[in-house]
């Protein structure tokens, strides 16, 4: 029975009790507890169920490596599944429930899988569920899906906020154990800028639990003194509750700071993701103890020896009254001694080594503990908790010599350095025979942008096992990192501890070593995913020889703990099965994050309104206030239409079209790109950028131009105005401004860098309004009359395709006589700061002329009625201007322009390319968007032959019928022919449309040229 001891617990404050609930049951712990400690303190050993067999699961570890004890934490908008109890700090009011069982934790129906375990070995599903073919989807998969998964699904959006923080430093030290602190001392003393991060909320790591002396003081005292010294260093930043999640290329480290997990709802960001750039990284991440593989090693109550010790020392919690210790190294004895000291019973220490002669074994004997060398556990007894163990010879096959009653088992299989952060960016490992672990190979460190190593390891993370070695290694690592990061060399000596003697550990991968298949099926490697020794051996037998195959076939190490406890044991078993050395087998790849990090933290501040920037024109607010239906265009939001109360969007659009054609419409055209191109070589440059000739455009005039990619495809269009002798102003599409600006800069910088041309993007400097319709001139002249603007807007002074600068009303303006609608139209640019005022003034003055704003859909319809193409509709990245009948805009006089060579390739000149035409349905209906026209027969693939497609299609309120444009095979030669467009609405019908001229309205331009 696990319980809170009357005394002890260096991390808890017994004067501050905290209440919490587990599965609805009220429980109590103390400040400083982890949820694990608090649960154990209340004798809650059973905490969950395993993934596959639904076996009972209790805590095995005391830190980030915990595979078993995961709970659903919190409720509602703060609900979080799969929360590891060993890294969850207890707080008042915490609620949690256990996972992966039905109907209850104590009685779980899913446990039948356990009884059927024999029929469910690794990879069984690859071999079955295949017949009949549809059964997988309809029968087997749904069952498997339901029983898989772990925690419950949150049902509400997250209440918390998250943020990011960029930090630049010289040295990052990962881990705040004695090694991290010693490294920090050295790096700090070098003068380098240092950040030390520790994932838990306390400093000192293992050493304070393990005991010993540093520089003549107790470990705890040394930690306090060292922290004080570090806090006094201005160049050193200390951070707890911050885990290094991953090391990425070029000195990039992610720090996952759990700011407010333990104080939910206090207004602080819950997590802060630090994106750190550093010159050097010291990984002082310590080591993780390995379990031992014996039958029944997964029964609640079987725990890592170091964890058993941690619970006693750090939290004053005992796992059981009688704890059997089983070990293959000296460290296990520390647990035995600690338990004994706490007044608990250790019936026996089973030491798998044939002798137990180290000083710690001696100390145990001296303390009166029975020590049994050469012994192993044959089997653990118990179901939902340990009731006893059978002992056997390690060297044998497992016949029981003795049964010992106990309620806990503490196992130690040796220690594996935490090499994750070393390995993320390619640091290599070497196999250490003596310690039977992989440790970083200092000669093959990960390298950074300068080709130099940028990660060093410190302390136990390097493989140093004693306190003395740990400190020495760590101080040297800190020194080296400080120096490599530009700090000064230091002479001051580092902390020291006395060397201790130890008996070598002996690798033990299976206990007992001759265990038969029946036992091996009960030896757990991966507790969460239920991978046993027998599964790995099966994988090897079946040819899944690569460790990566075995991982994927058995799911070893793929659970939420990522195999922190299971990987080494698993690959040792695999190596044995394959008869090869462990280094030959190698490890699987270490990938970030070190432990799972929240999606919220990754997303950071980018949610809701600030998920992505929305670009707004100066008139944006007006549109929103007017209730416009806004549509995303690039990052802009543009009014699609302005529906009035009671009006559908469709009705609004039609009204806007008719009103603009009959009276007066206003369009916020501020999003149109405006680029200034200036310089002595600007004309030459313009001629390269556009397919048309632009160098010969007269000052004061405008010309419609096309731009193509080097691949020949039409990429943008717009009106170009010649401003003065060496200045042009180019209009681009709304989505195109930044792209085309970048495109121009690219050519100027990387190809024609000797050409004297400057480009500036003035898109946002100007608010632009299209004043469109028969009354356009009237409203502007009224403004002039009202406020004394002097610009002459008459047809004579400012004819079609010209521009002028001047004052319109009270506004400094540039007016272009250009028209995308076919109406009399002025596009007027004013400074953006006055855009809203100008818009308001136009609306005001326009009232008597029937002014109405119109949106993008109206714009599209009007341009389609006029047969004008739209980038993105008539083009899609595969269309060349020639396809669109725009040959008139492609200069034949120029030797070169971007796209010219491409358009000479055989496929581009192929007469079979589809060409632009108008389309009108025989019944006046609107062709569906994206419809294809069918031809006769099938192609080589057996698909229906297609002979064309609709590129834009609208109901024309002006013509009171559907109009469309499309690309059609031999289209321009087939005027008047009727082609068929099958529908996809399920009606199996075909819409017939006649090929016609794409200009549906005012072909001669009588309306716009007035």
């Amino acid at each position: 029975m696990s319980t809170r001891l009357a005394q002890g617990g260096r991390l808890i404050d017994r004067s501050k009790p905290k209440n919490f609930t587990f599965n609805g049951k009220r429980m109590k712990g103390y400040e400083g507890d982890t949820l694990a400690a608090a649960l154990l303190g209340e004798d809650q050993m059973l905490m969950g169920r395993s993934f596959k067999y639904h076996r009972p699961r209790g805590v095995v570890a005391s830190g980030a490596e915990e595979p078993n004890a995961l709970v659903n934490l919190g409720q509602g908008e703060r609900f979080e599944p799969n929360q590891r109890v060993t890294t969850t700090e207890l707080f008042d009011g915490l609620t949690c429930t256990s996972q992966n069982h039905w109907p209850s934790l104590e009685f779980d129906v899913g446990v039948v899988n356990n009884y059927a375990a024999r029929f469910l070995p690794a990879g069984f599903y690859y071999k079955t569920f295949m017949a009949p073919a549809a059964a997988w989807k309809h029968v087997f998969e749904p069952i498997i899906r339901k029983s898989a998964g772990l925690g419950q699904v949150p049902t509400e959006a997250d209440a918390d906020r998250y943020e990011h923080y960029y930090h630049h430093t010289d040295v990052v030290i990962i881990g705040g154990g004695v090694a991290g602190l010693a490294s920090a001392l050295a790096a700090g003393r070098s003068g380098a800028k240092v950040l030390v991060m520790e994932q838990t909320h306390h400093w000192g790591g293992r050493a304070a639990v393990d005991g010993g002396e540093i520089d003549g003081q107790s470990v705890d005292a040394w930690i306090d003194a060292t922290l004080a010294e570090l806090e006094g260093m201005e160049n050193v930043t200390l951070r707890t509750r911050m885990m290094a999640s991953g090391v990425y290329d070029h000195g990039y480290v992610l720090g996952y700071e759990r700011v407010a997990d333990h104080t939910p709802g206090d207004g602080r960001p819950r997590h802060r993701l630090w994106r750190i750039r550093t010159k050097q990284i010291v990984t002082a991440t310590g080591a993780i103890e390995r379990p031992l593989s014996f039958a029944g090693n997964d029964i609640p109550g079987v725990m890592l020896a170091s964890a058993v010790r941690d619970y006693v020392v750090n939290w004053g919690v005992s796992i059981g009254d009688r704890t059997v210790v089983v070990t293959n190294n000296d460290d296990g004895y520390r647990t035995a001694l600690t338990l004994k000291e706490a007044g608990l019973v250790v019936p026996v220490v089973l030491d798998a080594r044939s002798e137990a002669t180290g000083p710690l074994a001696e100390a145990a004997r001296t303390a009166g503990i029975r020590v049994e060398p050469g012994r192993a556990i044959a089997k653990v007894h118990g179901g939902k908790r340990v009731t006893g163990v059978s002992i056997c010879l390690q060297a044998g096959e497992g016949s029981a010599l003795e049964e010992i009653k106990c309620d806990a088992v503490a196992m130690s299989g040796g220690w594996s350095p935490v090499v994750h952060m070393w390995s993320h960016c390619g640091g290599k490992l070497i196999w250490d025979e003596a310690q039977a672990h992989f440790r970083p190979d200092p000669n093959r460190a990960p390298t950074s942008h300068d080709g130099e190593a940028f990660v060093v390891t410190a302390g136990t993370a390097s493989g140093a096992m004693s306190l003395a070695e740990t400190l020495e290694d760590a101080y040297a690592a800190g020194k080296a990192a400080g120096k490599a990061a530009g700090g000064k060399a230091i002479r001051k000596a580092g902390p020291k501890a006395d060397a201790e003697e130890a008996q070598p550990m002996a690798p033990v991968w299976i206990m007992p070593q001759g265990a038969g298949p029946q036992k091996r099926m009960k030896m757990w490697l991966d507790y969460q995913n239920d991978v046993k020794v027998s599964d790995v051996q099966l994988a090897a037998r079946e040819g899944y020889e690569s460790v990566e195959h075995t991982k994927r076939y058995t799911t070893l190490g793929m659970a939420t703990d990522q195999g922190k406890l299971s990987n080494i044991n698993g690959l040792a078993v695999l190596s044995d099965a394959l008869g090869q050395e462990i280094p030959t087998t190698g490890t699987t790849t270490f990938r970030p994050p070190y432990t799972p990090i929240s999606f919220g933290a990754i997303a950071g501040e980018a949610r809701h309104e600030i998920f992505q920037p929305i670009r707004r024109t100066p008139m944006h607010q007006w549109h929103e206030d007017a209730g416009a239906y806004m549509e995303p265009v690039g990052h802009w939001r543009r009014p699609y239409c302005y529906a009035k109360p009671g009006e559908t969007n469709e009705q609004a659009v039609n009204r806007e079209v008719l009103n603009t054609r009959e009276n007066l419409g206003l369009l916020d055209a501020s999003t149109l790109g405006k680029l200034i191109v200036k310089g002595p070589d600007a004309g030459k440059f313009m001629d390269m950028m556009y397919t048309n000739m632009m160098s010969n455009l007269a000052v004061g005039k405008c010309r419609y131009g096309l731009m193509c990619s080097e691949n020949g495809f039409l990429s943008d269009d717009g009106v170009v105005a010649r401003i003065d002798e060496d200045t042009w102003l180019c209009h681009t599409t709304s989505g195109g401004a930044d792209r085309i600006h970048a495109w121009m800069e690219e050519w100027l910088q990387t190809e024609w860098w000797d050409w004297k041309v400057y480009v500036a993007n003035v898109t946002e400097q100007l608010a632009q309004v299209a004043v469109v319709g028969p009354n356009a001139r009237k409203v502007l002249e009224k403004l002039n009359a009202q406020a004394g603007g002097g610009m002459d807007l008459s047809a004579e002074a400012l004819p079609f395709m010209q521009w002028a600068d001047g004052k319109i009303g009270a506004f400094d303006a540039r007016a272009y006589r250009i028209s995308f609608s076919g109406e009399l139209s002025y596009e007027i640019a004013v400074p953006a700061s006055q855009g809203r005022a100008f818009w308001d003034a136009l609306l005001d003055a326009g009232e008597e002329f029937g002014v109405m704003p119109y949106g993008t859909e109206c714009l599209h319809i009007m341009r389609a009625e006029k047969g004008f193409i739209m980038i993105g509709d008539e083009t899609d990245g595969t269309v060349i201007p020639q396809d669109l009948g725009l040959n008139w805009a492609i200069s034949k006089k120029k030797d070169d322009f971007l796209g010219k060579r491409a358009q000479q390739r055989s496929h581009m000149t192929d007469p079979e390319r589809w060409k632009l035409v108008g389309l009108e349905t025989l019944d006046g209906s609107v062709l569906p968007d994206g419809a294809y026209a069918v031809g006769e027969g099938n192609n080589v693939h057996g698909q229906r032959n297609m002979i064309g497609r609709v590129t834009s299609t609208y109901y024309s309120p002006t013509l009171k019928k559907g109009i469309a444009m499309g690309l059609v095979l031999h289209g321009p030669d087939r005027m008047g022919e009727v082609i068929s467009f099958p529908t996809v609405d399920g009606s199996n019908t075909v819409i017939k449309a006649r090929i016609c001229d794409p200009v549906f309205y005012d072909k001669d331009g009588e309306k716009q040229n007035v």
């Binding site: 906020r161 943020e163 990011h164 923080y165 960029y166 930090h167 630049h168 930043t237 206090d266 207004g267 602080r268 960001p269 802060r272 994106r275 750039r277 501040e605 980018a606 309104e609 600030i610 992505q612 920037p613 929305i614 670009r615 707004r616 024109t617 100066p618 990052h635 802009w636 200034i676 200036k678 310089g679 002595p680 004297k756 400057y758 500036a760 003035v762 898109t763 946002e764 400097q765 100007l766 009270a810 400094d812 400074p831 953006a832 700061s833 006055q834 809203r836 005022a837």
Partner: protein
């Protein structure tokens, strides 16, 4: 010009730093050969400021000049004067190959005020704010938009971005300056 307004018309937010939109600010892009005497002369004439070196911003009687790229300067002047300054600078540059444009209204400007102004910006930009000192200018991004910033003094950071994303910039700065979000 009475009806000219800045993007957020001086909006402000009191967090653990104060974030405020600076209102109308004159801004001019000048492109040219930064090594030429003509450019230095023109800049001096219209702002009173010396030519900034790489990554610098200088201050003169009539305005500031920021180094934007090897062939681009940003002149920060009085909004009402900007058009006239463009004209004057263009004239002063004469035949020298250059481009001077008024971009005052294409920008939004923010001040982040407080001892932690660097920290607030560091939540949003990959640039190292800790090394920034008055007189330095950095072009980079904040969250998902391009921005430039410099320090007027140790506790006042000035941030320049495009006008169309003024609201976004304000919102993310506000978010970064939320009380409770103090990093240090």
């Amino acid at each position: 010009m009475s009806n000219a307004v800045s993007a957020l018309q001086g909006a402000s937010f009191d967090g653990y730093c104060k974030v405020e939109e600076a209102g109308l600010t004159g801004m001019i892009t000048l492109r040219g050969d930064l090594a030429s005497k003509g450019v230095a002369k023109a800049v001096k004439a219209v702002t009173g400021a010396a030519m900034p070196g790489q990554g610098e911003v200088t201050e003169g009687a009539k305005g500031r000049v920021g180094w934007m790229s090897p062939d681009e300067l940003l002149l920060i002047v009085d909004h009402a004067e900007a058009a006239a300054i463009v004209e004057a600078a263009t004239k002063s540059l004469g035949d020298e190959h250059s481009l001077v444009v008024n971009v005052s209204d294409a920008r939004a400007v923010y001040r982040v005020k407080g001892a932690s102004c660097r920290e607030v910006i560091a939540k949003l930009t990959p640039a190292d704010t800790s090394v920034m000192q008055p007189g330095m200018l950095r072009r980079t991004r904040i969250a998902q938009i391009p921005a430039a910033f410099y320090l007027e003094d140790d506790e006042t950071a000035v941030l320049v971005c495009f006008r169309s994303v003024a609201q976004y910039a304000f919102d993310i700065l506000k978010d970064a300056a939320q009380p409770g979000g103090e990093v240090f």
